[in-house]
Symmetry: C2
């Protein structure tokens, strides 16, 4: 196996043609006679020829791959988006280079790596980027699209949080509940802010007074939201707080800003020998696997689709002659859906 790899020159020689022709059959150019094409292909096979992606890239100024920046791809949400991205890139025959930006330290390092190493034609980021970082992308003329982030200064695609929260609360309202608690994440998360907005909107649209005491944000428990924003522990503590109140101040339904939080709440409820949906109606957000297993009513988000569509936006940008020439950015909003299961009951 000592023979070094064949290149187009070898193939050209073997086939008795010029390298230009070889290149043409490689790129499926139509301007090649069927017969010569066959000759070349035979030579390729014989020499076990494999085109060199780097050389092609260098010559064509295109890598045919895109970077994906994701934090903790352990979480269902990211996995699903990633799958969508994968599917989307496949359509364009692009390869997917994965960068984990879990920790802050990695974040810096990987972003600058993607930025400095010219290894990809574009970038998909499934998390929040600072304005400075976004600016660097523009400066580098490197196409970027933000997924799950509403941003005006760059291409982005995200899910309508306000609507999601509204759908959840409306469902509860429809079932006859009027005392609804909202277990939110910390308000430094834009998603938390918008979901809160949706909750309030749903309430006020129904002419219900907004009981601020039932709107519990995650900011009260900073130690529980350091790593991740919408944790189980957070939901548990939030629910405990509610459970500790006098009976007349109790809500009849709980809307948690994430399924994980809902599960935390559920545990707190069960610890008091109470149950769902008998004592409390409970609704989550995300529709993770666990939600199905626990029969939890929840809001499902089109994660896969978001990833897939994100790619389309990116490719549009990549294909453009000068990515950031026009200062006009694409921004797409997707709709979340209510998934009704068995954790909410009708109030008589």
């Amino acid at each position: 196996m000592g023979e070094k790899e064949a290149n187009i020159y070898d193939v050209a020689e073997e086939a008795g043609v010029g390298i230009g022709t070889v290149s043409r059959v490689l790129n499926e150019s139509q301007k090649v006679k069927q017969k010569t094409r066959e000759k070349v292909q035979k030579a390729m096979n014989k020499l076990n020829y494999r085109p060199d992606a780097m050389a092609r890239g260098l010559a064509r100024q295109r890598t045919n791959s895109a970077a994906v920046l994701v934090p903790a791809f352990t979480e269902h949400f990211f996995v699903e988006v990633l799958r969508g991205v994968q599917k989307g890139l496949e359509k364009y025959e692009m390869d997917l280079v994965l960068y984990d930006v879990g920790s802050q330290e990695k974040k810096e390092r990987h972003v600058s790596r993607v930025l400095n190493e010219k290894k990809v034609d574009g970038v998909l980021a499934i998390y929040t980027l600072s304005p400075e970082t976004i600016a660097s992308f523009k400066k580098a003329d490197l196409p970027l699209v933000l997924i799950n982030e509403a941003e005006e200064k760059i291409d982005s695609i995200f899910i309508n949080d306000i609507l999601g929260a509204r759908k959840a609360v409306d469902h509860l309202l429809d079932l006859g509940h009027s005392d609804i608690a909202f277990l939110n994440g910390p308000l430094h998360s834009p998603h938390a802010v918008k979901r809160l907005k949706g909750v309030k909107k749903a309430l006020s649209d129904s002419r219900l007074e907004i009981r601020e005491d039932l709107l519990i944000s995650g900011d009260l428990y900073p130690e529980l939201t350091e790593e991740s924003d919408f944790t189980e522990e957070l939901g548990c503590e939030q629910m405990k707080k509610i459970l500790g109140r006098p009976e007349k101040k109790q809500p009849t339904a709980i809307f948690a800003a994430s399924d994980i939080q809902a599960i935390g709440a559920l545990k707190a409820i069960e610890k008091e020998d109470l149950s769902v949906p008998e004592d409390y109606s409970l609704i989550g957000y995300d529709d993770i696997d666990l939600a199905r297993h626990l029969n939890l009513t929840t809001i499902s988000q089109p994660m896969f689709k978001m990833g897939e569509m994100g790619v389309d936006i990116l490719m549009e940008r990549i294909t453009a002659d000068s990515p950031y020439e026009d200062k006009k950015f694409i921004s797409r909003k997707l709709e979340p859906d209510l998934v009704i299961r068995n954790s909410c009951r009708k109030l008589n």
Copy 2:
């Protein structure tokens, strides 16, 4: 933003040096005077220079990235392995190119793509490859390591299935159970075969007769194991079969070859108004998230570590002058662990 990107020539000119020198500071060669180094770096900053990965790769004959072939990275197992791989590659400053080989069709397509496009220095495959495919890798001189597959003709790393099954059964044995049912996956899976072996070994080592009627493989339900091998539906059906037997033939403990199967079994049990661990002791395999939530005793596998170590093996091969020169392959075996929770009770 119309100015085209700077290259080493531009930098060299700006700094008043030759391109060789620029290249040297880029590669952190020691043979450059501190002062000129600074000049060059300043020029780089000024021109906003970003080295071109493809050009470097072409010149150096190295891509600095590795491909990872994984089926359905939705599953916990693959996600964990992937995280390990990610971590491992980071250590070597290698990039990770992700290929989804979920379906058979994708399998073919992506493998041949990785093989034909010279885009990576090596490949990690987290699933079964045919001998022919393995041969093609060798032929292409492309380093390959198989993860979670015992294979002698190529580098590989995997977890000791026999031992895992043994640990599970031994635990049950220690608790005083002697009538233990094994809900296995289909035997076309090498993992299923080995786990069965482990079960039998544990039993016979304890001088217990092996009750074949309690060893239920997944092959009986081909329609339930088409997509995936160790499914919830399968576990459910297998358990139903057991539940349908006369009382005297009932086991006291159930060992499922996957947590998912265990969950299926659990559902079947609960449907009969029986419960775990009161009526049956239940133990799973994999230690997925759900197992923790359900308090299921199970066998945990060092997935992360396996991914990480897989990278080490790969890098060894990549760094070697001629990857497949010596016909000697590395093969590492990792140990699974018993995780005791609350789904098994002591038999009096």
